[in-house]
Amino acid sequence: MSAATPRTMFDKIWDRHRVLEREDGQTLLYVDCHLLHDGTAPAFEMLKARGVRLRAPERAFATPDHYMPTDTRVAADIPNPALREMVVSLERNAAAEGFTLFGLQDGRQGIVHVVGPEEGLSQPGMIIVCGDSHTSTHGALGALAFGIGMTEVAHVLATQCLWQRKPKTMRITVDGELGAGVTAKDVILHVIATIGTAGATGHVVEYAGSAVRGLTMEGRLTLCNMSIEAGARAGMVAPDETTFAYLAGRPRAPQGAEWDRAVGRWRDLRSDPGARFDAEVAIDAAEVAPTVTWGTSPQEAVPVHGCVPDPATAPGAERRAAMEEMLDYMGLEPGQRIEEIAVDRVFIGSCTNGRIEDLRAAATIARGRRVAAGVTAWVVPGSAPVKRQAEAEGLDRIFREAGFAWREAGCSMCIGTNGEIAAPGERVASTSNRNFRGRQGPGARTHLMSPAMAAAAAVTGRITDVRRLLGKTV
């Protein structure tokens, strides 16, 4: 490739991390930052079985999130010994191998994808991996970040490197202005509904366009987070002033003269004009409404003022059967208005929407209102620092006064591996990222939406167009 060939941001990051190529065309990539969580125990077992130690413990950072209940910060309180062992073994492995642990008492603990950016660990130009598919989140800072399997986690621990075949690139351009009450969550649900859950399979997505540039860092984190729900390996946004302002002064970000040099390098990361992407998707920001899922895949999303689709209108028999099955599981009728759907539970949190801005947006709706009778509503901050910040701003008071439970940081009902699940048949308005059958507990029915929309569902007891509560005409 000649030096003059315009390169994408992805190409630039990929090229800089190439250690060697294999005869079959796979590349050994060097990993800048390896994030670990309390589901990583089997990888350490694999290493132990081979007698291999960590190659670069200074590049590994861990925090317990998946298995820790959010009503306590004491591992010994976890009643199920197998779950307790997940949390405790992470502490043991950190001590034995010498990597950094943001433990339960540490004040920096949280969901791994909230902690990375917050600590300044996730930086532009890096390759970041984690044994979790939502590692795509960190791409919001202009990193190449992707989830890997457990065997690959062990491989990175042992070698600090990972074999990858170069993926294709896709640019999703969102131009125009987002309407009132429309958030990054609505944009990504709209994108997934447009291209499908396999729409970006095999691709790394770069999000571009004026609406993306206009998002805060937190909005970009939400956007990149759900790239995997469109099948993408990774999602990324070119670093700009928003990125630098977010990173400046964070504990692990470069400081002083080093910071200036780093920003200089980061400015060159953006895709060159004329760089070619293997696929292009264009989205008009004005078309995006507050969006809600009705089925059991993130692609089954519609505008909140819409209706549950009718399988009779499906293009083929297979699709019709799939829709019928989803409606049956979800307990919905074809043609039912989305705003008529009553909810039993509300979950505000997760690595998609558990950051301070998400909680502020939800609190704006909760302020001065009450959680509807019969609804159980939880706010689970994405990290201990998010929780402290929210408390400093008085958000916890707003939530508590409205009747929301205010919990400790963790994954909680996003996946329920810590035991926090909905009952069979319960309907949950959730700010998380997956509405698969049983994701929030066997038989639980999940509707994905933004934090403000989830708060609106909590106070009205049904899925509600948040714009009504904001006093906007719909």
């Binding site: 079959d24 998946h66 996946i415 997956r434 049983g438």
Partner: protein, 199 residues
């Protein structure tokens, strides 16, 4: 890793598109240690009622398919969460190959590293093989990794592509880590250079 050469067995159809890893292995089994019986948890909530009784219609509960080692799946099989446990569950149950038009990326990668061969065939071919399995559940399918072919129950032969390195690892039963550890010097040289560039 166990060596993979030729697998011949009845083929179990899971025709739906977008079967995600939460269905393959529900999250509440994610804490099980590597050597636990993940196979018993495979498709747990599609296969059993909450009271533990079997859902007769689910393919794995049909006597003829209980011991199938080849799965025939719809588009985008194994999408969603990166949990390798989903592959352990398929493998633990006895599956050695999964044939589908497409896979979730991470699932396919995880499969290659655990002796569960992801085989991509054209959607039309997979649909035909699923139809064959449904009309003749006893019909056997052969997956030959050496030859890179699938022989359908009707005897038709279909080539498939696979990453040559992954193929070698599977054929010989070796893993990637041993290979990479052999390149320690190149990694160390990269680290020296990389450190300088970043300061």
């Amino acid at each position: 890793m166990e060596r993979f050469q030729v697998v011949r067995s009845v083929a179990v159809p899971f025709p739906k598109s977008n079967i995600d890893t939460d269905q393959i292995l529900p999250a509440r089994f994610l804490h099980l240690p590597r050597d636990a019986d993940h196979g018993a948890c495979l498709f747990r909530d599609l296969r059993y009622r909450p009271d533990g009784s079997e859902i007769e219609e689910f393919p794995l509960n049909r006597p003829v398919w209980r011991t199938g080692r080849i799965a025939l799946c719809g588009d985008n099989f194994g999408c969603g969460s990166s949990r390798e446990n989903a592959v352990w569950a398929m493998h633990g149950h006895g599956f050695r190959a999964v044939i589908a038009p497409s896979f979730g990326d991470i699932f396919a990668q995880n499969g290659l590293k655990n002796g569960l061969l992801p085989v991509r065939l054209l959607a039309g071919t997979v649909a035909m093989m699923i139809a064959q399995a449904e009309t003749d559940p006893q019909g056997e399918v052969t997956v030959d990794l050496q030859a890179q072919t699938v022989t359908a129950a009707d005897g038709s032969v279909h080539d498939f592509e696979i990453d040559p390195f992954a193929r070698r690892c599977l054929l010989e039963g070796i893993d990637e880590l041993a290979f990479t550890l052999g390149h320690d010097e190149e990694i160390a040289a990269f680290e020296r250079r990389f450190g300088r560039e970043n300061s």
